[in-house]
């Protein structure tokens, strides 16, 4: 992949300095030349065609663009792509395997944790970060952990249930593996 910024800002003229970055996204290493002002969200969506990461408010409020950056949730509209050089990014596309949904995705499906679905990728990435730290969260802990992600449809009830469902499923899987 040569210049990703060409795809993002077509009017780009030659001579605009770019930087070469190497980023591991969902376990796969990508090298790209990016203009420093390219946002991580745009690199993911336009550059790598990983459009599961949504850009909503574009002002660091809504959390639709949440991805994991070295395992911690970040708003990818509020980070420069150059800052991800040498780091690991996980997007919503990195949750499922070829054969199975991730328990968090199953939870959102089973508990009707979405309506329009716009906030869902960000919700799921925040949920993934929460469950990695706290495999057995209370309802209150889930609500606090998701408080940087806005949903305009659900009233959050079923999102909380979905994360709870996923927590139980992941704990069951863990105990099965142990036994």
């Amino acid at each position: 992949m040569s210049s990703l910024f060409n795809e993002v800002v077509p009017e780009r003229t030659d001579g605009v300095p770019t930087r070469r970055v190497t980023i591991t996204v969902n376990g796969e290493q990508h090298t790209a030349d990016v203009e420093p002002r390219l946002l991580l969200a745009h690199l993911l969506r336009q550059g790598l065609r990983l459009t599961g990461t949504h850009t909503g408010c574009d002002t660091t409020n809504c959390g639709a663009c949440t991805v994991l950056f070295d395992g911690r949730p970040v708003k990818s509209c509020t980070m420069l792509a150059v800052q991800a050089d040498g780091h690991e990014v996980t997007t919503v596309e990195g949750l499922a395997t070829a054969s199975a949904l991730h328990p968090i995705q199953e939870g959102f499906k089973d508990e009707h944790g979405l309506q329009c679905g716009f906030c869902t990728p960000g919700m799921m990435m925040s949920a993934k970060a929460l469950l990695a730290e706290n495999p057995d969260p209370t309802e209150d802990e889930i609500r606090w952990a998701l408080s940087g992600n806005l949903c305009r449809c659900t009233g959050y009830q079923n999102i909380v249930k979905a994360v709870m469902w996923a927590a139980h499923k992941m704990q069951d899987q863990e105990s099965e593996e142990v036994s």
Binding site: R19, L39, D58, P73, T78, G148
Partner: protein, 291 residues
Amino acid sequence: MYPPRFQYEAPATVEEAIALLGDGNGDAKVLAGGQSLIPMLKLRFAAPTLLVDINNIAGLDYHRVDPDGTLRIGALCRHEHLEKSALIADNYPTIAAAAPLVADPIVRTRGTFVGSICHADPQGDWAACAIALNANLVVQGPSGRRSIAARDFVHGPFETALAADEIAVEAVIPAANGTARGGYLKLERRIGDFATAGVAVSLDIVDHRVERAGIALVGVGPQTIDARDAAEALQGSVLTSTTIEQAASLAAQAAQPRSDHRGSASYKRHIVQTFTSRILTSIHGPSREAA
């Protein structure tokens, strides 16, 4: 939205970063957590020609206590490091109370304590805590380091004492002279919104007597307000309902709120009084039991 074009450098040492800032001729900005700067770039509230990203500088992400009890918070210590720190939870009640209220959980993984103070938003949580805690900012420039009291560091809305070729490398919170007590309360319409009003209180207490007090106000003026009269009223006194109400009333007088969509000026002033009283009462309660 895209940020305007800028030159980007990510040096590996503070010295290199300072040299780059010097080259920027006053038109360079330091990028730490970026949780305020990047939105401001996108909204064209800021258009520096050079961004000096300090995230690749090793050894700035600490918070630690010296043997004499001084707390040091490095320039890359993120909000969530403080939120999850047992050291903070056990010894720094003002910081421990504020950390979970800064922005939202996702922003807290990136944003930094020192960067928030340098941003000098009148609605920022940490500048108020730093003033209440009598903290200093250590800033480094081409000719070395200097230390600036937090209350003198913030000059106005988004204005600080930082020179164009200086970086705030550390916040220093002096050891409590006695038992550290304190709290932080903030009213916000929803998580992640700017504060309607907030109050930071820090007290050092010896034998139920207030040895040192600091009170600072958030979102009720053109800059973070050091409610010094309210703090001085407590100095040397024992917390009683009378001294608490006096301090709360002085804090409300120190506020310079403006009516806006978050509430009327009188409402915000009332919140300052209520929050100051509430924090002081919560400190007063357990110490009275102990007496």
